[in-house]
Amino acid sequence: MEVLLFGSIAEKAGASILRVEAGSMEQLRTELLMRIPELKEMRYAIAVDKQVVHADRELKGTEEIAVLPPFAGG
């Protein structure tokens, strides 16, 4: 699945899109920490189909995933 990265997270990853294989939110989080170790020290949220998701849940692989650093609008 494609994972969209934004702001400081895209900067750390050196990319704005990652390809990741993950069947659940848990797996996705683990995978992301391996690919972007700096995430451990960062605050971020994960959006699934444009909704922030905190709990674990299955992922089909067709979802739109995004990793979001703290919001800073306004």
Partner: protein
């Protein structure tokens, strides 16, 4: 998601700073709505704050645009459900906005001032909390840091 004129999906993002002339045009468009008694406007302006590592010369805004526009629909619906407002317009800049330039424009109109005032306060706060917008603070002396809303 309702389909009425007031609640439909809109693009809130504009490239570059929000110009005073754009604000004037938005205001002028409401002169035909003679049921409006008050307009309330909030404008966000980029501040040249001094930080530990230098002073802010500009903010470069990016956003997760589709999610932000969808979140904005939800906030709009909440505002229209809570207050009898006539119109609500929200715009946010993308790209580099210099200190002193405007990056955020919230505009509500209503028969009476209280509704316009309270809905602008609500929408301004919720946009800052709930929309995935990111700000890279460009320091005048070089370098940058990432803005975060408290």
């Amino acid at each position: 998601m309702s389909n009425t004129g007031s609640h439909k999906t809109r693009e809130i993002f504009v490239e570059g700073p929000i110009g005073p002339a754009f604000i004037a045009e938005s205001i002028a468009k409401h002169s035909t709505r003679t049921d409006i008694g008050g307009h309330e406007i909030f404008l966000g302006q980029v501040r040249a704050d001094a930080t530990d590592i230098g002073s802010i010369g500009a903010i470069e805004y990016t956003a997760y645009r589709d999610m932000a526009n969808e979140q904005m629909i939800v906030i709009r619906e909440e505002a229209f459900a809570r207050w009898p407002i006539t119109c609500l317009h929200v715009y946010h800049s993308l790209g580099t906005i210099q200190a002193g330039e405007l990056c955020f424009f919230v505009f509500a109109s209503a028969p009476h001032r209280r509704e316009a005032r309270e809905s602008v306060a609500f929408v301004t706060d919720e946009v800052k909390k709930r929309l995935p917008i990111f700000g890279k603070e460009i320091l005048s002396e070089g370098g940058h840091q990432w803005k975060r809303n408290s």
